[in-house]
């Protein structure tokens, strides 16, 4: 059986069920509201209900063959993420942008170049590196490194991140937003260079799971059942070899 990890609650779970349902693969939660057992009408697939945050780890370990979670979580949790998982299909929901935001009051800062210059001056004046509150440490760090921003530090914030600037535990933030409303309400603005990452719910394949002949065949049948826009290198290499 192919183990398919899906989010175990909330809108992400419902949308995942809908997405597969629309593609002829009915699935739902078994038993009572509180039971984390998934049911699926497909002979080749077994549902594994997991917290969306744990699905990247399970994929990387190869304990599940396939998994649905946010692309932001995969990229932030897994170093060298694309060596560990393959994108089979972006699913078109759960859209959210990971953005860098600074106080609207900083009229002099709109780009990464501005942020970098402000960080240098901040460090000179205050004696410590400009603090950016986030829970997406790897994504933010790699983005800032790629763009040559220095003299900042990341401080961990697992919730209410938009409030950290007012509380003076950070000078800027990097967080997920879909409408930007919470940012505006907290007098923050988004840098104009574009999002660090535009995330959406994505169907991933675990490269390290066991992919023997039968499981490849099952994947092939599943992908042809759920439609043409899901593609896998695994099967394409098989066809060409």
């Amino acid at each position: 059986m192919l183990k398919l990890g899906v989010p175990s609650k909330g809108r992400l779970m419902e949308k995942t069920f809908d997405w597969f349902g629309e593609r002829g693969l009915a699935m739902g939660r078994g038993g009572s509201e509180r039971e984390y057992a998934g049911l699926v009408e497909h002979d080749d697939v077994e549902l594994v209900m997991l917290s969306a945050g744990e699905i990247p780890r399970e994929l990387a370990a190869g304990r599940i063959h396939l998994g649905v979670t946010g692309s932001d979580l995969v990229r932030d949790t897994l170093a060298g993420w694309d060596d560990k998982v393959e994108v089979l299909a972006p699913m078109g929901f759960g859209h959210a942008d990971l953005v860098l935001a600074v106080p609207r009051f900083w009229v002099d800062v709109d780009t990464l170049e501005d942020l970098d210059a402000a960080a240098a001056a901040f460090r000179r004046r205050h004696g410590f590196r400009l603090r950016i509150a986030t829970k997406y440490h790897r994504l933010v760090r790699e983005y800032l490194r790629a763009h040559g921003v220095a003299d900042y530090q990341l401080v961990d914030s697992q919730g209410a991140t938009e409030g950290t600037v007012r509380n003076e535990t950070a000078e800027a933030i990097a967080d997920i937003t879909s409408t930007g409303e919470t940012l505006r309400a907290n007098h923050l603005k988004i840098l104009t260079d574009g999002p660090i990452h535009a995330s959406q719910a994505t169907l991933f394949r675990a490269r390290n799971a066991e992919w023997d002949g039968p499981s490849r065949d099952r994947l092939s049948r599943l992908l042809s059942d759920i439609g043409r826009h899901a593609r896998s290198e695994l099967l394409e290499t098989k066809l060409s070899s």
């Binding site: 009051f105 009229v107 709109d110 780009t111 170049e113 970098d116 590196r129 040559g148 220095a150 950070a170």
Partner: protein, 364 residues
Amino acid sequence: MTSPADRAAERAEAMRLLSVFEDAGGVRTETDILQPAGGLLDLYGEDIRARAFTTAGPDGGELMLRPDFTVPLVRRHMEEGGDPARYAYAGEVFRRQEHAPERPAEYMQVGFELFGGDDPAAADAEVFALFHDALAPLRPSIAIGDIGLITAAVRGLPCSERRRAALLRHIWRPKRFRALLDRFAGRTKPPATRTALLAAADPMAEAGPEIGLRGRAEVLERIEALRADAEEPPIAASAVASIDDILAIASNSADALERLRDIEVDLPAIRAAVHRFERRLAALGDRGIPADRIPFEASLGRSSMEYYDGFVFAFTLRGRPDLAPIATGGRYDALTRVIGAGRSVPAVGGVIRPAICLAGTSPC
């Protein structure tokens, strides 16, 4: 995971190299494996988190598994070391290798560092010759460079001190350095948001409430800096071309010296740095190194996240671009100034990876 046999071989090779460094006058030294993270983070920035393993101490303080020996060694030398001082060490270092997961996360390093003295060219040559001779049986490919040439060229640019400082801050981040240089040279336009800000009658009109630690004075100060920058003429194209010319040098050292003398005609500010380069080549020659033939790469050491600010060198195994260098090193006077809080000491040194040496001696 390293097998017990490989580990024993690596250790034996490390001990052999350590004794070479001790015979060269290095006083054997050790450092703690667990290092306080704060100092390393302040020095290298958050980027080091992709390279070093972090853990928490019982009091909640952040610790790092030693990513190299240099920083703790410099710190101790600044507190208690004599002048000059030579140190030799061997031990495990730990690297996360997030960008190269196939490389080992734990391996031995054998190093030699020379602090102080009054003849930097002779010190550079002493350290380089030591590595050169120790590694000669491997017939490695060699490259040298000199970050001091680039910094001297930037210091000599006909522009404001503010622009020079911005460029010097990013010597080790080539991409941002290039973007700034293009901006200051007028090759790229400032972002539209900045143009609008400087054109506004009251830049703070739409600012909203003042929140956070970075206050109004800081915002206004930067607007003033932006205004001054907008009024400053672009850096002359010929001066920018000189920087490009220096960065493009990749030839043997004798030809590199000739090329630098040509550039010096238009950019006299690099004269002292070129002279240092020349003296170093002569000092290498005095030690029997065919310095003129050694390949010189002007951009060597710029993206390695180290604080080398002068002479740099790298030895790599021929035909094995997949492996890390066998040895790297260079001069890092500026690092000692940062760690020494104002005090500084001339410093040059390098490290060898015994595991890579072994890869060069065993059949591949």
